[in-house]
Symmetry: C2
Subunit: 218 residues, 2 copies
């Protein structure tokens, strides 16, 4: 009975995610859903990506948080349109929340929409938001075992970013092992190791992302 | 309607948590529920705590993970009885899972039971497990804003551990600000800053914990 309720919730979300995708396609907006644990660096990656992308195209951002608008203010400082969704306790964004937020965000002329999910490596992986690309971010201080312990986020993402490579000398983290663990779960996953702090590795990530955005443009 | 279902789930969990507490009390077992994001150091804190506590009392551990038994093997290496709960996708432990796991864990003579929750700073905070003490762990690389963004875990915990102080020279983290943010949310919270890697600060944590365990002993 409990399972059935959960299945119904997921099916309803999937349907609404399909509707969102139709809306995004009609606006020619390429949508990227960013997932990670709290503190892995979603907002930092977003800031660095926006700085490198905003000369080429029009960007907007949806920020998902349980409470507060800390991240939205960081994005607004880059002069990018941003809408904050406060989930009020819910541990993930769902398609309904994103659909509602569009009332406050005009997508006309927006080429790329980033959706920064609630900081949680578990639940957001189950909820489609109509995105074209899902990216999971893992940071080196979180440790080596995270891919095996939280496989769904890596299985359901087309790209994985390993952030905070600047901390590699100070933490126990095996980059090669983590790459192998990701590939074991998702043979198709693109993998980027980078540091938002030093800029190391950001070029490869940006080339990939620009290719995806351009490839989708009509 | 959706809210009502959620309320019923929580009420059912609270009732079962009360039953768990009766079981734990009848065995004179002091129970500690450990919460954090993935990779903040729950298992490392548990290892260091067990090494310093196992001469004084009998310890057992329940490990909660979505998948795998990586952490349970780390605990078993310390020759401590450990039961692994695999939630199979669920993002938190609930009282029913803990109750079921007791069939495989004899609490007779166990003075202290640690329950390591699924790595998630959001959902586990809503589910009581019959524990005497709830401890939330935050690590310095996660950044300064986490208390304000994930307030429930800090509000509902009697103690907060700020782990990975060894990384303070390499990350942007304001220890004093974080202490203030925790106190703003929970004036009664005990706060410990420590490093499981170097051992710095572990003495204060152990003194606190031993005081709690001894204070509860009949």
């Amino acid at each position: 009975m409990e399972v059935k309720i959960v299945q119904n919730v997921m099916a309803a979300n999937d349907l609404l995610a399909q509707e969102l995708r139709v809306v995004f396609d009609s606006k020619n907006t390429f949508v990227i859903n960013l997932l990670s644990s709290p503190g892995a660096g979603k907002t930092s990656l977003l800031e660095e990506t926006i700085k490198r992308l905003k000369g080429d195209c029009h960007i907007a951002v949806i920020e998902g948080d349980i409470a507060g608008d800390h991240d939205a203010r960081r994005i607004a400082a880059l002069e990018i349109p941003v809408v904050q969704i406060n989930t009020g306790g819910t541990c993930h964004l769902d398609a309904r929340m994103v659909m509602s937020s569009l009332a406050e965000l005009d997508l006309s002329g927006v080429d790329v929409l980033f959706i920064e999910n609630v900081g949680n490596l578990v639940c957001p992986a189950s909820f489609k938001l109509g995105e074209n690309l899902r990216v999971v971010i893992l940071s080196t201080p979180e440790g080596n075992d995270k891919v095996k312990k939280y496989p769904l986020a890596f299985r359901e993402s087309q790209a994985a970013v390993i952030n905070k490579t600047d901390l590699l000398p100070h933490v126990d983290f095996d980059l090669d092992q983590t790459r192998r663990d990701i590939r074991d779960i998702n043979t198709q996953s693109e993998i980027f190791a980078l540091s938002c702090k030093t800029g190391e590795g950001l070029d490869s990530w940006m080339n990939y992302l620009k290719g995806k955005v351009q490839g989708s443009a009509r």
